[in-house]
Amino acid sequence: MSGPPSLASTLEPSIDSVNARPPGARVRFGGRVTARDGTSARIEDAFGAVIVTTGAPPEEGTLVVVDGTRSASGVLAGHVEAVGAARVPFPRAGGEFRALTDSGRLRARGLRARAEVLRGIRAYFDAQGFLEVETPSAVLSPGMDLHLTALEVRGIGAERWLVTSSEYQMKRLLVGGLSRIYQTGRAFRADESGARHQPEFSMLEWYRGFEDAESVMRDTEELVQGLAIARHGTATLPGDEGPIDVTAPWQRLPVSQAFESLAGVDMWQVLPDEESFFRTLALVIEPKLGRSRPVFLTEWPASMASLARLIPGRTPPVADRFEAFVDGMELCNGFGELTCPVEQRARLERDRAERARLGLTVHALDERFLSSLEEGMPPSGGNALGIDRLVMLLLGAQDLREVMGFPQDRI
């Protein structure tokens, strides 16, 4: 924001902003002493460090407010005021300061990149005339997907589960007459933990009423391309195996073709054995996808998409579902949405029976969602994208936990 200088504070917001000031500038800032000798101290925060020349530097760990003048290489201090102290040797292994600053300040940079991504998402969708919405986290029915486990919430009075995705509620808004909606919220999936999974994660979900899957695929391309350019100056992401050119458009590759060209097997032959299907997909195909250019896997077998419409005229039946892969990792999952209430009920009943057969929690059908479809839902494209994974890709990080402020092992 530009405008008159704020009177709220005379302190610099962070030490890298101190370092950005020209020599001769008066600076005031807070930070932590992390090293010292007889005449100078290094003052640090999560984003940077500056050498401050001062008479008698306070000991390591001391929190200070520095009043001084920017020099060619650091800050000449007029006054260094100690405002707090560490009661343990500083920085402490496993402590908060190290958590943000280790590995070249990776987590601190991750938090900044996340804020940048959230701003970029809002700028993109707002410019397209979307409305930002919020839907509940605790719902009656968290989805019937066989391979997602929901977390139960107690204390609301009725049966409630944390959403694994907000699709039912957002579709009700489409029925209600909103056509372009998006939200950035939290999704929860039990028993998912690893370098690319966390039980609580941030998800961007958006819908275009009266449009199709292709329209939200184009959003995905433009959003990622724009964020890459904003961060790196070019439409390139630092991939694990080299730079990834994310310039739109991305390839659309039917899943069956991916099975044939990347695993050398016929998907329709593998499909009846669900475990083989997922083994081939997860262990053989996915690691090869999106290494130099992102790719959309499209045209999924109908059994792999309970909420997508079928592509007309295809035998065996194929669902209008897509997933984008970047650097061997799934970034999003979207559909040309199913709008028929009869077909939707039949599919959820089928999944429900299958959950019962497998001994999984059998959730109630979301009758409000099903009944909303009876009012008529416009044909729509919808997509859900993992924000944490997007941050990871922008930074070239290899583990979600490095770019999340509080992954499970830090809660």
Binding site: A35, R42, P91, A93, H197, F278, A282, M304, N333
Partner: protein
């Protein structure tokens, strides 16, 4: 019994009748699909590495191991010699069987030797060991931060990242579970 949610680094279980140690693992799950846990395992009898992918929910037998304190005597060719300080019985383990543990052994050090079915198969060094730095670039005086690391070679031949202020000849404490520097030790 264990199942796939128990898998973590250093977990020991029986796979196809052989005790295995988890060296690395990765949770893999296609968006709306079945989950797998990919593992890199060490066969604890031979020291060889293998890769296996388990589907979520698979179960494994626990490897019942017993640890007995022994003294490390000296390396002999490709073997490492240990002795029971009560019975004076000696036993030999190979470099492969020791794995990472070989990086921290000093002559005379007391260690836990791992037995499976009365058979010595590995060694757990003490959680913290103090070792001398024999090679590293000169340090920056006054830099007592632990944020930036430089490589250092230890008396046992192991390599470790150390803060900039650590110099050759310094004694440092290492966490053998992670292989990471803990602190400089005053002599």
């Amino acid at each position: 019994m264990y199942d796939t949610t128990d898998i973590r680094k250093n977990l020991k279980f029986i796979l196809d009748g052989v005790p295995c140690l988890v060296v690395d693992f990765q949770f893999v799950k296609p968006g709306k699909g079945q989950a797998f846990t990919r593992t890199k395992l060490r066969n604890m009898l031979t020291g060889t590495m293998l890769e296996r992918t388990f589907k979520t929910g698979e179960r494994f037998e626990k490897a019942d191991m017993e640890e007995r304190q022994q003294q490390f005597l000296y390396p002999e060719g490709d073997n490492y010699v240990f002795m029971d300080t009560k019975s004076y019985e000696q036993l030999y383990l190979t470099r492969e069987q020791l794995g990472e543990g070989a990086n921290y052994l000093q002559d005379g050090m007391m260690v836990d030797v791992l037995f499976w079915n009365e058979r010595p198969i590995g060694v757990t060094p003490p959680t913290f060991v103090e070792l001398t730095v024999i090679e590293t670039e000169p340090g920056f005086k006054g830099d007592t931060s632990s944020n930036t690391l430089k490589p250092a070679k230890l008396a046992t031949g192991a390599s470790v990242g150390v803060p900039l202020f650590v110099n050759e000849g310094d004694m440092i404490k290492i966490d053998t579970r992670t292989g990471e520097y803990v602190e400089r030790v005053k002599r």
